[in-house]
């Protein structure tokens, strides 16, 4: 057994007028002679300890201080002592130890019942503890009510309140309830004891609904069904509504991959020239393809001619010396810099002027360097002089390499970047592909007109000998772009092919802005093929160009990979450009 000293367990004042202190006696005084435990107290302003005035009223092991001994806001100290020893001591003031008695006279009355008689509201009333003088305002109490069904274990609590009545709503008339209340001084934290339990039984007053055992549960099923229906209706109405804002708010558009400056719809359905201009204008595109190719010279076009779009055809443009530098072929100035300012992203450039504007705004320093020579790749007719050759020559080996490996990877290269892309490179590749069989032909795209037409330029050889052939210069070519139209090319080829029958035939068959048709190319190739007997020097013995198989759709211009007579494919009058796949077909 542990030895326990006498201890003061608590001191309490129920009404702030009297107070009592209680202690535990401990278990040792039986062992020795009975010791008499005393409670001594002292007010703060006194010197002597006095003994407890009343050991009886509050029960055993207690001390009761009546009103005459109680001063509310005065500090007290009490101590538990016997003759020689002090067992315990406590100091407090009466206002700190107020714990009211429980409320009395609990009762309840029925307020009303529900229509079905299953639920009822009651009002519970009680009186404050009789000891607390609330009427004179000496003490202010607040009450906390707790209730539960008879067979439940957990009490439900209401918030403490000052009033002595409270309604309880929606009690089940079929069940019995228990209610209890306790009180505390308003600014204290501790509650007094609970009152006696009040039993609420509806059957006693005759409104109990014993047979109303069915519990009307919350109609979850109905709620869910209606909720889903409502939501579905809302969603459908939003989707169908014409209000774009609302629609955007509820169903924000999912961002789709989008290349800045390129409108996918336009690619599908738009005019070639528009698309072409977009692609041409799209700086990123070119940059991606050729960012490794520092040696690739991009021609920077100065497009300043506002009349460009008024020109009759690209042919004229290409041929005319006036347009040498300005607004050139595509009128697109290319440079390596990311061209954020390049046109409106979603507005296709349909004419040169727009492109010009676009180009004008872009930096062109890089390309200016690259194109010191102002080699207008696009307008080969003009530039087709020896200037271009050195650059081409320089790039030959690399181009060759590129050609072998990258042809397929840049299907659009020739076209998309035809504006300034290494047409010469392509050309050179074509011309330098020793490794390629004679069946590999490439058409060098010299230009892409804003309308989206590809202008195939003469091969390198043809360049060399360009000066010679001036055929096909007419403006018959309806295409105003770099795309080849069969008819036009035919004419040219036909004209040229007759003239020469050598490896250079191609160059001659190509004008500066040569247009090719399948047949014409074929012819050319055939001619060329015939002349491949010549040992290839540094250049390809094979034809420089492949026949063009122009497909119907404006998706692309197919270059036929073989020099053999190409099946007569239809030409797309609109002169579509070569698509990736088609270009891939060309290459072996």
């Amino acid at each position: 057994d542990l030895l326990q000293w006498p201890q003061i367990s608590k001191c309490r004042s129920p009404e702030m007028e009297t107070f009592s202190c209680y202690w535990t006696a401990g278990n040792f005084y039986n062992l020795t002679a009975p010791r008499i435990v005393q409670l001594l107290y002292k007010k703060s302003n006194e010197e002597d300890w006095k003994e407890c005035p009343d050991y009886i009223t509050s029960g055993q092991n207690s001390c009761y201080f009546n009103a005459s001994y109680t001063s509310v806001w005065t500090p007290y100290c009490v101590q538990l002592a016997s003759k020689n020893e002090v067992y315990d001591k406590k100091c407090f003031s009466v206002d700190e130890i107020v714990l009211p008695d429980p409320p009395v006279h609990l009762n309840w009355t029925l307020l009303n019942t529900s229509q079905t008689g299953i639920h009822g509201d009651i009002q519970v009333r009680w009186d404050p503890p009789p000891t607390a003088d609330v009427r004179k305002g000496w003490i202010t109490l607040e009450y906390e009510l707790q209730y539960k069904e008879v067979n439940e274990t957990k009490w439900k609590e209401l918030k403490p309140r000052l009033s002595t009545m409270v309604p309880l709503y929606s009690l089940k008339t079929a069940r019995d309830y228990e209610i209890r209340i306790r009180s505390r001084q308003r600014t204290s934290e501790k509650f007094g004891e609970f009152s006696e339990i009040l039993y609420v039984s509806f059957s006693q007053i005759g409104i109990g609904c014993d047979h109303c055992t069915e519990e009307v549960e919350f109609p979850w099923f109905l709620v869910v069904v209606f909720g889903v229906c409502g939501l579905a209706v809302t969603v459908i109405s939003i989707m169908l509504s014409k209000q774009p804002r609302l629609k955007m708010l509820i169903f924000p558009p999912v961002p789709v991959p989008k290349i800045k400056g390129i409108d996918p719809d336009l690619l599908k359905k738009g005019k070639l020239d528009e698309v072409n201009s977009i692609l041409a204008c799209h700086d990123n595109y070119k940059t991606q393809l050729y960012n490794d190719d520092l040696w690739v010279e991009f021609i920077e076009l100065d497009i300043e001619d506002p009349d460009e779009k008024n020109r009759a055809s690209d042919t004229d443009r290409l041929l005319s010396e006036d347009h040498l530098k300005s607004h050139g072929c595509l009128g697109v100035k290319d440079d390596d810099s990311g061209r954020a300012s390049c046109c409106e992203p979603d507005i296709p450039e349909t004419d040169f002027s727009a492109s010009d504007t676009c180009d004008a705004t872009s930096d062109s320093d890089q390309f200016k360097k690259a194109t010191e020579k102002e080699e207008d790749l696009l307008c080969l007719d003009r530039q087709d002089n020896d200037e271009s050759l050195p650059s081409l020559a320089n790039t030959d080996p690399q181009r060759r390499h590129r050609n072998t490996q990258s042809e397929n990877s840049h299907p659009w290269a020739p076209f998309a970047d035809s504006i300034e892309s290494p047409r010469p490179s392509v050309h050179a590749q074509i011309s330098n592909q020793n490794s390629l069989t004679s069946t590999d032909f490439y058409a060098q795209v010299s230009d892409i007109t804003p309308a989206g037409r590809v202008v195939l330029s003469p091969g390198q050889k043809s360049r060399l000998g360009r000066a010679q052939h001036e055929g096909c210069t007419e403006q018959n070519f309806t295409v105003d772009n770099t795309y080849f139209c069969e008819a036009d090319v035919k004419k040219c080829i036909a004209v040229t092919s007759h003239e020469e029958n050598e490896p250079h035939v191609q160059e001659q068959s190509y004008k500066e802005d040569g247009y090719f048709t399948t047949e014409s190319l074929t012819t050319t190739v055939a001619n060329f093929g015939a002349s491949t007997a010549e040992p290839p020097s540094s250049e390809m013995p094979v034809a420089d160009y492949t026949s063009i198989h122009i497909v119907h759709s404006p998706q692309g211009l197919v270059l036929n990979a073989t020099a053999l007579p190409v099946p007569d494919k239809e030409f797309n009058v609109s002169c579509g450009y070569v698509s990736t796949d088609q270009l891939n077909k060309i290459m072996p």
């Binding site: 703060s44 009103a67 509310v72 407090f92």
Partner: protein, 220 residues
Amino acid sequence: GLLLVVLLVSHMLLTKEGVTSLPICPNGSGNCQLSLEELFDRAVKLSHYIHFLSSEMFNEFDERYAQGRGFIAKAVNSCHTASLTTPEDKEQAQQIHHEDLLNLILGVLRSWNDPLIHLASEVQRIKEAPETILWKAVEIEEQNKRLLEGMEKIVGRVHSGEVGNDIYTPWDGLPSLQLDDEDSRLFAFYNLLHCLRRDSHKIDNYLKVLKCRLIHDNNC
């Protein structure tokens, strides 16, 4: 004219934060007069709020700084307002004349004006004082001012004759709040907060007694 101004001012005072009742007299209204009941209601609300804040502040301070220092054992502290003879039990409170009681209340409130100002400023120098204590100190000081002004209005209404002596106890505890020794300084704060809690409880009780006596005729 003067009475009107007094009423308007008292209305403005008593409807500040801490008093949640709706204003009966909107500013500028000419015929408005706050009833004594309304004045008492507001005064009781203010005093209850002040006591609530003091109680909480004391508890927080006790928890934070006083544990293990044995401050409670030195509970025999004397507050500077001990010299004011205030009723110590219900009987005394019932026997005292309401005008005297009102004057006493005013005296206690005035005596706390100064200490509260210094408490608000000095408590900030306590090392790592919690924000809640700082805020409460400032709030109590403000509300105490308002209650004082409200009480003066009530006294003006209730007093039949001239206003009694200006009851007031000066406070000289500022140096103890600025002691270098941390233990002594904290004990000084502990004492002050303990006294504040007690006195605010007294004021709250007296006002409720007066309200029940004067307004509800001892039948609250």
